[in-house]
């Protein structure tokens, strides 16, 4: 027993050393773990403050580029200035120093904020540039700090601003593509490529603005589509705003009329009615119609604004070129209400446009009567967005197949597959394009012609709806064109809201929208590699504008 105890005691120094070894191991373990944590790196090692709840990391957004990689929207680092009032010795000194560097700060406001010693954190100014930050830093006030933020910058300023939209101060998209694709833009750094072409967008915006200013319009919208792919090459709304300063613009300027506005567009709908009639075999090209007398439907009568030259026997081309309501209603009558509505629906005109930045739903008649069927045949009683209309109209230039419009390049994961839907036969589409070419060479669309580029199109002058009917003092004028007519590829649409002449009288599409569309085509056809063709210019024909006329100015 004694021996055993002695043995046990002999082992004790060893036991104490075992304890030392265990302790040593424990110290090494926490020391190593400490190194792992310390060297793991911090999410926000660069900024002075990073941990607490007030420092939610602002989102870094992907760039937006046009179809050629031109930068439309990007994110830049800016610095937001804050202060800890409890760490300030002399608020007057700090306020004076800040105002000397940032003159747009108000001394008294800043002083009041800095003097609020009950608080540990007050914002002073957001969006300092690196130079301003350095200058404030050099003031040497300990109580001032910066938080790095990213701010959206639009290098093209007002260009495509309605498409791009803008973000709020926290970097969340609140309008346009920035809003519609906010998740996409915040989830990856990969630039988002749009189908927009900066050159075409610029051309459209310049001409839309010029037309709107010239006609003293309330507003305007323009769309350029590639009819073969459904791609939106340009989309504009007037008045415009600078996407870098959305707060300086009012809602009227920020409103995207091209996709979010809906208008009764009027006679630009006539080609649809004519196409339906031809495609369904209800009317033929040789057939003539007597369009001398108004058509009575119940208590309403449908007139033509101006009598046609050969009103007794007008063929379809004449009806379209001279824009006869009476003739169009007769064609609609042959088609019948059901097929007429189905035809318009198949062109996507009864739904909001599927374009990715969002679009307004059309305003349709509350109930369809004999009169609404008749007026819908020439574009009244149904209000659609210019975007919706342009993609429906593009069907003529795509051999009768409807393509949903898209603003995302092919192959983008978010882009819907491009599946054309046949709405009319290819010959029907070609025939209607030819008719619209006549409307430009001989009819209401003459002001849209550009020598060499074979513009085909249709005017639309709609009186604006007013209480109890329509107001003949206020028009919405549109001109929708496809070109080149012999191998149509592109659609250009310009809509003007309440254009007037110098005397303040409402003017029609032929004088308001048609010349603007001609100007746009003249600018963009070379960009789009459309070769001019001068062979069919008839010396005795109606005068058309020569490109050289303008170039020499």
């Amino acid at each position: 027993m004694s021996q055993n105890l002695f043995e046990a005691e002999r082992t004790s120094p060893l036991r104490a050393r075992l304890v030392a070894a265990g302790l040593c191991f424990a110290f090494c373990a926490v020391g190593l773990q400490g190194a792992v944590v310390a060297l793991a790196g911090s999410d926000s090692a660069t900024t002075r403050v990073a941990s607490s709840s007030r420092d939610a990391v602002s989102t870094r957004r992907a760039e937006i580029v046009d179809r050629n990689g031109e930068r439309l929207a990007t994110s830049v680092s800016v610095y937001s200035l804050y202060a800890d009032p409890s760490a300030i010795w002399n608020a007057h000194d700090v306020a004076a120093g800040l105002v000397s560097i940032l003159p747009d700060l108000d001394y008294d406001t800043i002083l009041a904020r800095l003097s609020d010693e009950g608080r540990r954190f007050v914002w002073l100014k957001r969006g300092l540039t690196p130079n301003q930050r350095q200058a404030v830093f050099d003031l040497g006030f300990e109580a001032l700090g910066f938080r790095e933020e990213t701010r959206r910058f639009y290098p093209q300023r007002s260009l495509a601003s309605h498409i791009l939209g803008f973000t709020d101060v926290d970097g969340n998209g609140i309008s346009g593509i920035e809003y519609a694709l906010n998740d996409r833009l915040t989830s990856t750094d990969e630039p988002l490529q749009l189908t927009i072409d900066v050159g075409i967008q610029y051309s459209l915006e310049v001409e839309l603005s010029a037309a709107a200013v010239r006609t003293n319009a309330e507003g305007g919208a323009g769309v350029v589509l590639d009819a073969r792919t459904g791609e939106v090459l340009a989309m504009a709304s007037w008045p415009m705003y600078d996407a870098n300063r959305p707060q300086d613009a009012d809602d009227v300027a920020r409103f995207n009329r091209a996709s979010s506005g809906v208008y009764e567009l009027g006679s630009v709908f006539k080609p649809f009615t004519i196409a339906a009639g031809i495609d369904l075999g209800e009317v033929t090209l040789r057939e003539t119609f007597d369009v001398r007398n108004p058509i009575r439907i119940g208590s309403d009568a449908i007139h033509d604004d101006h009598p046609l030259h050969n009103a007794r026997s007008a063929d379809l081309t004449t009806i379209l070129a001279q824009s006869s309501n009476i003739g169009t209603v007769q064609v609609a009558g042959r088609i019948g209400p059901e097929r007429q509505v189905r035809f318009l629906e198949s062109l996507g005109l009864f739904d909001a446009s599927p374009v990715e930045l969002g679009s307004a739903a059309p305003l349709l008649p509350e109930y369809w009567s004999e009169v609404t069927y008749a007026t819908a045949s020439f574009g009244h009683g149904i209000a659609v967005s210019p975007m919706s209309f342009a993609s429906a109209f593009a069907t003529f230039a795509n051999d009768g197949e409807y393509l949903a419009p898209t603003i995302l390049m092919e192959g983008d994961p978010l882009a819907a597959p491009r599946e054309p839907r046949r709405v009319m036969s290819a010959p029907t589409a070609q025939v209607v394009v030819e008719m619209m070419r006549t409307a430009v060479t001989e009819g209401t669309g003459r002001n849209a012609d550009v020598v060499g580029y074979r513009v085909a199109g249709k005017t639309g002058t709609a009186e604006k709806p007013a209480a109890g009917g329509y107001d003949d003092d206020r028009n919405v004028t549109s001109f929708s064109a496809v070109f080149p007519a012999d191998d149509p590829n592109y659609v250009v649409l310009i809509v003007l809201d309440e254009p007037t002449n110098e005397a303040g009288q409402a003017i029609s599409a032929a004088f308001a929208s048609a010349p603007a569309v001609g100007n746009v085509i003249e600018r963009i056809a070379p960009i789009l590699d459309v070769m001019p063709n001068f062979e069919d210019i008839r010396p005795s024909g109606p005068p058309v504008r020569m490109i050289a006329d303008r170039r020499s100015l």
Binding site: G34, L39, A45
Partner: protein
């Protein structure tokens, strides 16, 4: 039985010749670091709590440091038998206080650990730890003299009610620490391994019992095991240490002290890690390790089982407390509510640690003695 005859045989000279200088210097360095860090975390904590005096905690900390130095040095001068007698006194006092505490103690953050005494809050459990270790080691050492008395059982009767009182507060962290140190004392005293196994099983069962009977233990352990859920403090500590990196963000530039409720106590390591960086923290850790290991090794050289077991357990307890605190800060262990010895703010903790090291120093002073192990 004879000490070497030296010219100066006064008590102070005698003490200085025999005491471990390395441990004293290490302790002084730790106290100085604690003072420095209290300047970092103290004012923020004072402001958070709402004291008018920004340096409330700094001044008090300085007072505690002075008290700790005096108590550590004074207790290190005790002889082995006086160390035991002092331990008995402290144990009885602290034990009674802990018992009273259950009735009159005021609750801080879900536990009744504190007793108010003339403007100071005293946490008697900090004092009961070193006292119990010394007493238990002495009792266990008596096995060699009187083999008829079941000393192990007696020791256990000392240990069980103390742990019971700790658990009733409840203070699971201190319970774990005290139990570990107690086991070390038992182990070094020559405890048969079968006892160790029995204690091991008992410990696991107790742990499970604790887990299921105390809400806040369960919560803390669960929040530790599932880092996604409410582990705000641990996330903050982790982030702060990461932000500090190797060299730190600089004195006064740290931010964790503004975001955590106890920057000056339980999370002082994270404050240090953020402001001074990992290299400084590693230095701190090395000082802890040197003190603890030097103490344990010095104790291991003692032939007398009483000072050997007591010294080993005391220095072990000191080292383990540091390891646990740092382990919590670096995310290896669930939050325990345990201070970093000599660094964290807190009078009871500081004085308790001073007592731990002082008694440990007293028991490991160099003496001439018969060494059965040395030939």
């Amino acid at each position: 039985m004879t000490t070497l005859a030296r010219s100066d045989t006064s008590m102070l000279a005698e003490w200085w010749r025999t005491v471990d200088h390395g441990i004293i210097i290490g302790a002084m360095v730790l106290l100085a670091c604690g003072m420095l860090l209290s300047l970092a975390a103290g004012p923020t904590a004072a402001e958070r709590i709402g004291y008018n005096n920004t340096f409330h905690f700094v001044f008090r900390h300085a007072g505690f440091v002075v008290g700790a130095i005096i108590i550590m040095l004074a207790s290190s001068m005790l002889t082995e038998s006086w160390a035991r007698r002092l331990a008995l006194l402290i144990f009885i006092g602290a034990f009674l206080l802990m018992a009273v505490l259950l009735v009159i103690g005021h609750e801080v953050k879900g536990s009744q650990r504190w007793i108010s005494l003339g403007g100071f809050s005293i946490q008697p459990s900090e004092f009961v730890k070193p006292a119990l270790i010394v007493l238990a080691s002495w009792l266990l050492a008596q096995r060699q003299r009187l083999k008829t008395v079941p000393w192990e059982v007696l020791t256990f009767f000392l240990f069980a009610p103390t742990v019971g009182l700790l658990l009733l507060q409840p203070d699971v962290g201190q319970t774990a620490l005290l139990t570990a140190a107690f086991l070390v004392a038992f182990f070094v005293s020559g405890l048969p391994l079968i006892w160790a196994a029995a204690f091991g099983v008992g410990g696991v069962l107790t742990g499970l019992g604790l887990y299921f009977s105390f809400e806040h233990v369960r919560y803390r352990i669960q929040s530790f095991l599932n880092p996604n859920e409410a582990s705000y403090q641990l996330d903050q500590a982790h982030e702060a240490i990461a932000r500090g990196g190797l060299l730190g963000v600089g004195p006064g530039e740290g931010r964790i002290k503004e975001d955590l409720p106890d920057p000056h106590t339980d999370f002082i390591y994270s404050v240090a890690g953020e402001e001074f960086g990992y290299i400084a923290c590693l230095g701190l850790l090395i000082i802890f390790a040197v003190i603890a290991l030097r103490g344990v090794m010095a104790a291991s050289r003692r032939a007398d089982p009483y000072p050997r077991a007591a010294g080993t357990a005391l220095f072990f307890m000191f080292g383990l407390q540091a390891v646990i605190n740092v382990g919590v800060n670096v995310g290896m262990l669930p939050t325990k509510g345990m201070t970093l010895p000599f660094i964290s703010y807190g009078g009871s903790s500081m004085i308790g640690t001073a007592l731990t090291l002082g008694l440990g120093l007293a028991l490991t002073r160099k003496r001439a003695e018969f060494h059965p192990g040395i030939k």
